[in-house]
Each structure stands twice: as C-alpha cells, then as structure tokens.
C-alpha cells in the first residue's frame, strides 16, 4: 500500500482546526472570578428585572452547596471557577436594527465560519441568532417570523420583551438544583436564544443559533429556551466553534424544550468547539445540560447531534415523555480523536401511556481518545405500552483509544417493550481493500465507510447541516485506521 497507517495517522493529527482564528473585536469584560457582585454586575449590564437577579442569586447559593460531578468516564484537572471571566461582550454593543449595523469584523468572523449571514438569508432561509462569547449579536429574519407570531430572539431581549413567558418557563425543565453546571449556568448565564411557536403554527424556516467563544479565559454560559405551543412545529439548529487556545475553556449551557399537546420540536446540534491540539492541550470543556419535556399528548421531541469538537464533552440531551402517545428521539454521532474525551448519551423517561422512544448512537474513537455512551431508559409504572428501541454502536480506529457503553434500563411496567443493542467493531480491512480495488484511496474509503456508518443519524439533520456535518466528520477523522 502506498500510504502506511502511520503516515495517515500523522496526517490526521496535523489537520488543523479550521475554525481556530480569533477575532479582533474589542470586548467588554467583567473582572475574573465569581461572587455575588459579579452576578449583580451581569444582571445590571443586561438591565434585568429584580426577579431575574433574585433567581441568579438564589442559584448561586445553591451552586455553592453542590459538588462537581465525577461519575463520567472523563479525566481532567480541577477547574478553578474563580479564574474565569463570566462576562465578555463584543464592544460596542448597541441595538441593531439591520445587519448593516453589525461590526464588519464580526461579519467577517461569520464568513470564516462558513455562515455568511447574508448568504444564509438569501439561500437557505434559515433564521440565525449568533451568540459570541456570551452575548447575542445578531438575529436575522425576526420580522418575517413576527408575522406568524413566532418569537425568535436572544434571551436578553426576551427577558425585556416577554418577561412573563421567561418567568413562567425558565428552569421549569432543568431545575436549578438539577446538577452542578445547571446551577452555575442559572447563576451566571449571559445570553442565549429564546423561541416561542404559537398554537397551530408550523415554523416556515429552520431556526438557527451559532455559538462562538472568542475571548480567552472566558466561560460561556448560554441559556436556550424553546417553547412549542399546541400543534406547532419547529426545527432548531445549533452550531458551535471556538478559537484555538492553549488553555481550556468552559462551556456550560442549559437548553430547555417544552412541547405542548401535538407539538413537535426538532433540535439539531453540530458541535465543533475547539478540541485541543494533538497532545491534548487546550480545548473546550463542554458540560451541557439539555432536556425537553413532552408535556402534552401526541407531542414529540427529537434531538440530533453531531459531536466532533471539544476536549471533553459531558452531555445527555433527554426527553421526559409525560404526555400520552408522546415520542422522544435521540440520534447522535460522536467522534473523538487525539486526546478528546466524550461521555454522552440520553435519558428517556417514560411517564405517559403509549409513549415511544428511539435512541441511535454512533460513536467513533480514534487516536488516544475515549468515547462513552451513557444512557438511561426508564419506564415508569404509569407508562403502559411504552416502547423503546436503542442501538448504540462504536467504531474503533487504532488500539490506543477506547469505546464504552453504559446503558441503564429500568422497567417497571410489564406492557413495556424495551430493546437495547450495542456493537463494537473496527473498520474492516476487507471493506477498505474492496474500495481500494475500485480505485478509491484508503483515506477516502474511510470517509465513505464512516459516513455510511453514521448515515442513519446524518439523515436526520436538515439538508444544509448534513453537508457541513459530513465535512466535519471527514476533517476530524482523516486517515485514522486500525
């Protein structure tokens, strides 16, 4: 063979992180560290009402009593929470009426990210909210959406314009006490997206948020809330990038979804935070709490994620299936390379009758990475005729990495039907040779095979994201074959 495995492996590790530029935008930063004063400062910068400040302070009190979780299959040095910036906003920040007013440097950043706002607007009709460091800087298409009664704006604006909706729903799916990072986020979240789809409305376009961490030593704590009223539908996309930095950066977001009777929320993520260099230096700690509740009968929440970035991922997008006949889905591709660590999966909590859930998880591990699926399927006593099907596959490339599966399956109702399957394998040498014989070089053959392996999940992504995700898989994995 022309290229040896070793050469290929070297090539992968030399593949540079494409999104690793920084943007020279002056930013407005609060001092390092976390205390009540910082929280008051964040709240006042954002001109928040008293109830929200109270919520933050209470969350901070709760957080102080909590301990960092250590059960995940990941290892990292202790985080000094006093050594982080909790607020950084691109400056100057004024109210933006149109895209023309956005800092050209910022627009340039988005172009480099491959998300030219103009282009997106013209071609794909995707409404985009962009959150840089902690603050939402541009939301497109707001007006078009307004006509349908759809609210899509930054969390900051939502607090000002729709306080009653926020007050009612904030922390109603992920309680402050839920876990250490959720409590931290509740205390210091700076922005994020808010979305409300009124009764009977089918959102005519994909709603999309891009998150980017730009400042060094900054924690990003965004908060997303999506509410789908009765019989409505929304497809929501989220993309993430960060510059290359030697030090680790913390991202602790909270996402809450609520689906009323007959509503459907499709939430897709393409996560490509900076994974650190080939020696495992730097990279984002991605500690995220995502949960949705199917409150009404016949509602549906579907999570799709393509996770290729972050030094460490700790993330379990979950569904609480409370309404009868409600449906939860989780489709995931998680790729780890070099020294990345991922511990990700889902929880499907069946409460309502005739509830259904599907879990398809495809892990790919290469280099020195560790990739774990951790999931809970719980069928409560009340969940008559509940159905679950889980399929968790792992693909290993090279013998220095690990692939792990930790499913928890708890069944308390005899009419339930719960099925879980998992397999672990490597890319077959015979498959690669077969491709070679048809003229396809090994590296391309691996891309082809991995994409085929992940197809079931990639198919769930909206078109324009699927292409991007496919490219990301290629970048993250080029050549690592065992």
């Amino acid at each position: 063979m022309a290229t040896t495995e070793k050469e290929l492996l070297e090539k992968v590790t030399k593949t540079e992180y494409k999104y690793g530029f920084t943007t020279n935008i002056e930013s407005d930063k609060a001092p390092k560290g976390l205390n009540e004063d910082i929280i008051r400062l964040i709240s006042s910068k954002k001109e928040e009402p008293q109830w929200l400040l109270d919520f933050r302070l209470k969350s901070f009190e709760i957080w102080k009593t909590m301990k960092e979780p250590n059960w995940a299959h990941v290892k990292y040095p202790k985080i000094d929470f006093q050594d982080l910036y909790y607020y950084a906003a691109p400056k100057p920040k004024k109210n933006l009426e149109s895209l023309d007013e956005v800092d050209p440097e910022l627009l340039d950043t988005f172009k480099k990210l491959g998300i030219s706002i103009e282009e997106q607007k013209r071609l794909s009709g995707v409404a985009v909210d962009i959150v840089m460091d902690s603050v939402s800087v541009a939301t497109t298409f707001t007006k078009t959406l307004k006509e349908k009664g759809i609210i899509f704006c930054s969390m900051g604006e939502a607090v000002k314009n729709y306080p009653e909706l926020i007050q009612e729903h904030l922390a109603s799916v992920v309680p402050v006490k839920d876990n250490f990072y959720a409590a931290l986020n509740s205390a210091v979240f700076t922005d994020g997206s808010f979305c409300y789809i009124p009764k009977g409305v089918r959102c005519p376009m994909e709603l999309s948020t891009y998150f980017r961490i730009n400042e060094s030593n900054t924690g990003q704590f965004e908060r997303t809330l999506v509410i789908a009223d009765e019989d409505s539908y929304v497809s929501y996309l989220e993309g993430c990038t960060a510059p290359m930095r030697d030090e680790n950066q913390l991202h602790a977001a909270v996402v809450e979804l609520k689906a009323a009777k007959g509503a459907e929320i499709k939430y897709s993520t393409v996560q490509n935070w900076y994974p650190g260099d080939k020696n495992g230096k730097g990279g984002i700690y991605n500690f995220v709490t995502k949960r949705g509740i199917c409150e009404g009968d016949h509602s549906k929440i579907s999570w799709t994620q393509v996770e290729t970035g972050s030094a460490i991922t700790w993330k379990y997008p979950s569904c609480i299936l409370k309404g009868n006949h409600s449906i939860g889905e989780f489709y995931s591709v998680a790729v780890t390379n070099n020294h990345q660590q991922a511990d990700t999966g889902t929880k499907m909590i069946h409460i309502g009758k005739n509830t259904k859930s599907t879990i398809i998880s495809k892990g790919v591990s290469a280099g020195f990475s560790n990739n774990s699926y951790r999931g809970l399927v719980r069928i409560n006593k009340s969940a008559t005729n509940a159905r679950n099907f889980s399929q968790c596959d792992s693909l290993l490339m090279g013998d220095q990495c690990g692939a792990h599966t930790f499913p928890y399956i708890e069944t308390e109702n005899s009419s339930a039907q719960v099925e879980h399957e998992a397999t672990t394998s490597k890319i077959g040498e015979d498959q690669i040779f077969y491709c070679n014989q048809r003229g396809i070089a090994t590296e391309k053959a691996i891309n082809l095979i991995v994409n085929g392996y992940a197809k079931e999940v990639l198919n769930k992504l909206p078109m324009e994201f699927a292409v991007e995700a496919q490219k990301l898989l290629e970048i993250s994995l080029e050549g690592s074959v065992g």
């Binding site: 063979m1 022309a2 290229t3 077959g428 040498e429 015979d430 498959q431 040779f433 077969y434 491709c435 070679n436 014989q437 048809r438 003229g439 396809i440 070089a441 090994t442 391309k444 082809l448 095979i449 994409n451 085929g452 392996y453 992940a454 197809k455 079931e456």
Partner: protein
Amino acid sequence: MLQIKNLEASIEEKQILKGINLEIKRGEVHAIMGPNGSGKSTLASVLAGKEDYEVTNGSVLFEGKELLELAPEDRAAEGLFLAFQYPVEIPGVSNINFLKTAINSIREYKGMQPIPAKEFLAKVKEKKELVELQSTLTNRSVNEGFSGGEKKRNEIFQMAMLNPKLAILDETDSGLDIDALRIVANGVNKLKTKDNAVLLITHYQRLLDYIVPDFVHVLYQGRIIKTGGKELALELEEKGYDWIQETEVSA
C-alpha cells in the same frame, strides 16, 4: 497487457504461489482452473494488491508498468478490476455513491474532471440493464442484504461501470444458479472487446460453457502445470484433477 514472471507469494510465512508465469494479451480470455487450495484466489488477491500476502519473488508488468509497486487503488485506476469471490458489504454507503466515488477517483488519477451527473446517471441506467440488475439495488447499501446472485451481478455491474482493461473474475460462478450464471456470463461477453482481456478463475468447467476461453491453465500447488485450449477444461471435467496430477507428476 499482463506479464507475470516467476511470481512467488506467501501468507503468514507459508508459500502459496511458487513461481507463476503467465502472459495475457489484449482481446484474450484466459481461464485458470485448479483444485481447492491450489492458489487460484491467492493469485487474484496478489494481482489486486491485498496486503495480507507477501510477494517474495517475481514481477508483474501491466501495460508496461510494474504492478507490484502500485497501491491497490492505483492498480484499479490503471485498469485492473477484480470481481470478488465474496463481495464485501458496506453498510450505509449506497451503491450509487460508492460507484461515483470510485469513478471520480479513477478520473482524478487520470487527470480528468469528475463525471457530469447526467452522464453518470445515463451510464448507470445503461449498464444496469446489461446485468438485469433491479433498479432498487443501486440505491441500497453496497452489497448489504443482497443475495449471493445479486452480489455477483453487482460485481459485473461495477465492472461495466468502471470499464477496466483487465477483469479478473474470482470464482464468480460459485453460488450461482443456472439463470444467474447465464446473466453474469452474458454481461461479461457483452463487455468483451478486442482491447480488453478477462482472466477467469474457476473450479468448474460450467462457466466456460458460457464464457469461452482462448487459453486454459491448470494451477496446482502454486504452479501452472498445464496450459491448453478450451478442450483442456472439458478433459479436466471428465477425468478430474487427479488425472492431471498423475500425468504431470509422472511426466
């Protein structure tokens, strides 16, 4: 087109090919026959460049180039095609996508632009009919869930799409019923021109009723011990491999 000189190859230190000499010219059909374990499939794999085998001696010239120095994909791009005895399944990768990637890889090797979508689809339609391949099969994952006969037909379909100079058919007849055998053989015959060549590797004479060889070689214990015309195959069928072993060993 192909000149094999004194080719020796081994797997896990065990020598399988012990000095093969063979020349194939344009427009010719050669058949290699031999009992199980004689090295037939090893020869096919070595020519295609399978890593498991170590070439310990000899040379293989393909259109004047030393084949053994090329990576498997480059051999394919040079025009060598192997129809696998056991076609491999690749879940999630559609036949169409697979073929397009293959064709464009080969075109890239030759410094050509990728194939236009329209031309590609027209070609798919045309070649599919050649092997009576069902429309749905092209959209399914490569060989996944195909029956034995469908897999073999798919191999010939790929061969038609890639239009190789030399096609090696490794036991393509095994596991085929008579109808499937006829379809596969018809496909191969239609693809045959005065500029390309075919190397059939088979255990039975049956296939040679449909694809008539110009030369028949008998491979035994890693060596070609007898070469003749198509009548040699018939003789073998009648008298069995024992006959040839005896005559050769005693001679």
